[in-house]
């Protein structure tokens, strides 16, 4: 199955590279979906079929839609949608760090030449289910609590509040006013909140 591995590897790397380099946000997201599909293909190759289906179900079915909603809710409704530069200031430090880490990992992998062959074993879903319910029952319950907490937390964080009397200033506008003073420009704060509220 050599050809399958190389094709899937090409798809996966292309998806990842496009996902972090595109200018348009929705194109980035589509490349990310391609990346997820490539990873799911690799899971199929590695005989972890349940995990591949779970990957498609959770990442493409839920996380991608979530990111789409976030993109839609954080659009710049006035002015241009795509900023001029996509890279932050001093971006070469980030790129250098990533290159150094890639080099370190490649050197560590090359230094190890153990000849391990894939066992070709696949785990039946029945066995996964039994293990989940018997040995991993407590982590399962903790995961359920964690997911519920994340759900409630996300809703609370993203909930719309009435406009703050003293909003934080944007970059370059000066220091924030202490609480207790009257707001300087209530009309702009109101229309700003109303606009983002209307778009949500």
């Amino acid at each position: 199955m050599n050809a399958a591995f190389w094709i899937l590897a090409a798809i996966t790397v292309a998806g990842a590279v496009l996902a972090v380099s595109q200018r348009n946000l929705v194109h980035c997201l589509l490349a990310l979906v391609l990346f997820f599909l490539g990873i799911a293909g690799h899971y199929f190759l590695l005989r972890a079929e349940f995990l591949a289906a779970v990957q498609i179900l959770i990442y493409i079915g839920a996380v991608a839609v979530l990111i789409l909603f976030a993109i839609m809710l954080t659009r710049n409704v006035t002015g241009t949608e795509i900023p001029r530069e996509i890279l932050g200031g001093k971006w070469w430090t980030g790129a250098a760090t990533a290159a150094i880490i890639a080099g370190l990992l490649a050197w560590a992998i090359r230094a190890d030449r153990t000849t391990a062959t894939p066992s070709g074993a696949a785990v039946l879903v029945r066995e996964l289910g039994l293990t989940l319910m018997k040995d991993w029952a407590v982590p399962l319950e903790i995961l359920a609590v964690l997911l519920t907490a994340a759900l409630i937390g996300a809703v609370v964080i993203a909930l719309e509040e009435p406009p703050h009397p003293n909003p934080l200033p944007r970059r370059g506008e000066g220091t924030p006013r202490p609480l207790g003073e009257r707001p300087a420009a209530p009309s702009s704060a109101q229309t700003g909140e109303g606009k983002s509220g209307g778009a949500a």
Partner: protein, 103 residues
């Protein structure tokens, strides 16, 4: 002829590096979160590769992978909720504008 182990490890290392580069260089907070997802997935791929190539008796690596996917989904949910909340204050998702805590 099967795929040698280090090919898979190199693949996941490359994907991790790509995700790291994206997380450190892009200005848009949502793309930073997408790059973090790329890093997550490459790490879980690494885990499953070792499961296949080392022959574990119990399906422990797959269990870890399932839990990791669930936790990654929860983390991206909360992260995007934070981005939406920050957008309401700053009216932008540019990470260079979030300077309220700067010393």
């Amino acid at each position: 002829m099967t795929i040698p182990l280090h090919h898979y490890l190199l693949l996941s290392a490359v994907l991790f590096a790509v995700g790291l580069c994206g997380a450190l260089t892009r200005r848009n907070a949502i793309i930073v979160l997408m790059a973090i997802e790329v890093m997550f997935n490459s790490a879980i791929l690494n885990l499953i590769v070792f499961w296949q190539y080392r022959g574990f008796a119990a399906p422990t690596p797959q269990m870890i992978a399932i839990f990791a996917i669930a936790i990654a989904a929860a983390e991206s949910t909360v992260g995007l909720a934070l981005v939406i909340a920050v957008y309401r204050h700053y009216k932008s998702v540019n990470v260079e504008e979030f300077t309220a805590l700067k010393g």
